[in-house]
């Protein structure tokens, strides 16, 4: 299940950054105000039905209308408006352009992720997972490749639509490390409800190490194909077979694995799949079992998704592909 929608406290009430924090505070204040006003109305109703004659006369008088109907809402709503706008002013602070940028493109039914350098070139490709450093403002460039999607990480910010032909910008910042679920928040057809992703916020130094290592792998030239199944250990033979199957079965036509000849761009990038938190776009935990199940019969897990079920592969072939994806060599 998409983690953005589960857990306690609910992710929308558990802010992990300044852009969600102010909205959550405002929500609590509005809910509290709602409770107070409902209580006042209930008390007035009780007085009107059961109160003593003197109280009922006071409630029905012109004074009560001026105080309760004009002065009270006027003052309270003005104070709330000023306070609310001040509280959320930082949400509309202009984007300066020197923030770290990550382009996220909504696709039916997954998220393409591209990390950009200051010049706007793609330096690292990933899918269904974004990693950001804690305490650093990040701007997401939100796009769509097909229909309207919406990008939402409830722990970090509000929703922002991903509209075909447009680039919407969303600034986000995490102030604590953690794994935060994200989800597509605009109905986009078929398995929309199974279109999620994960945002991982980590210590900046740790993030830098991860990023440099991945960016280097992403830019690396193609290594020669490894020696065939005659290689020494059984594991190496197994993964070499997985690689060959990945290329020959057609997986490489849609999926890219950096550093290999697999360069398909229609489906999610699968570079270092073993390090991802989830399988199937934020919906299943990632381990050999779920990965095997996904490759073998993704249609029963996420009906209508664009990857066919590969149920003509044998147990051993499925395992070889999964093993190679987890640790491509």
């Amino acid at each position: 299940m998409v983690d953005a929608l589960w857990g306690w406290p609910p992710p929308v009430l558990d802010p992990a950054g300044p852009y969600a924090d102010s909205v959550t505070t405002l929500s609590w204040a509005l809910m509290a105000m709602g409770v107070v006003v409902t209580a006042i109305v209930c008390i007035a109703l009780w007085i009107a039905l059961r109160g003593t004659g003197r109280l009922r006369r006071m409630l029905g008088g012109e004074r009560a209308v001026w105080i309760g109907g004009v002065a009270f809402p006027g003052v309270v709503l003005t104070v709330l408006l000023v306070w609310g706008l001040t509280l959320t002013a930082s949400l509309t602070r202009p984007i300066t352009g020197d923030e770290m940028r990550i382009r996220v493109t909504g696709e039916m039914w997954w998220f393409r992720v591209e990390y950009l350098d200051p010049q706007g070139n793609v330096v690292l490709r990933d899918a269904n997972e974004v990693r950001i450093p804690v305490g650093v403002p990040v701007v997401f460039e939100l796009k769509s490749a097909d229909v309207i999607h919406s990008f939402w990480v409830p722990h970090l910010s509000g929703k922002k639509d991903m509209i075909p032909g447009r680039t919407n910008l969303l600034r986000v910042e995490a102030d604590r490390a953690g794994r935060f679920g994200g989800v597509c928040a605009e109905y986009c057809g078929g398995p929309h409800a199974l279109m999620g992703f994960v945002a991982i916020a980590e210590d900046p130094a740790q993030w830098r190490t991860w990023f440099d290592e991945r960016a280097a792998r992403d830019a690396a030239p193609l290594p020669p194909a490894p020696a065939s199944a005659s290689a020494s250990s059984a594991t190496v033979a197994g993964t070499a077979q997985g690689r060959a199957l990945f290329m020959d079965t057609g997986c490489a036509a849609c999926h890219r694995v950096a550093g290999t000849e697999a360069n398909g761009l229609a489906g999610p990038d699968l570079t270092l799949m073993g390090e991802r938190a989830t399988v199937g776009a934020g919906i299943l935990p990632n381990h050999r079992g779920t990965l095997t199940g996904w490759i073998g019969d993704s249609q029963s897990i996420k009906p209508g998704n664009r990857m066919p079920s590969y149920d003509r592969l044998s147990a051993q072939e499925l395992d070889a592909i999964a093993a190679w994806l987890e640790r491509p060599q």
Partner: protein, 135 residues
Amino acid sequence: MDAYRPENWRLFSAGPVALVAVLALVGGCKPPPDARGDSDATAEEKGLALIEATGCGACHEIPGVPWPRGRLGPSLEGFGDRGLIAGKLPKTPANLAAFIRNAPEVEPGSTMPRMPLNATEAADIAAYLLGMRDG
């Protein structure tokens, strides 16, 4: 005014009685798994939570797991009533737990890989699966 005569009231009261009887019949067809198993109820509850967290449903249809209902592996509907584990192992909780944790070791050639579970977790899942009967 006829409707207020006592002899006509019986007609009206027969409705709710029939409804209750039908509900009881339908409800009696398939009580939930945890109402039937004779094993430890808390282990079964933990087992179901673990099944969901591990994503066993990616390959198996499992009663109590609304999604996913994977079809790559066999359906585990009524597992407690079925024969041998993977068609060859005697159906004991210990065998099942061992199979869940590391299927390829117990049955070489199995599509089901080793699962990221410890022995207690596998035992809880086994308790849940063995508690499910066809009814």
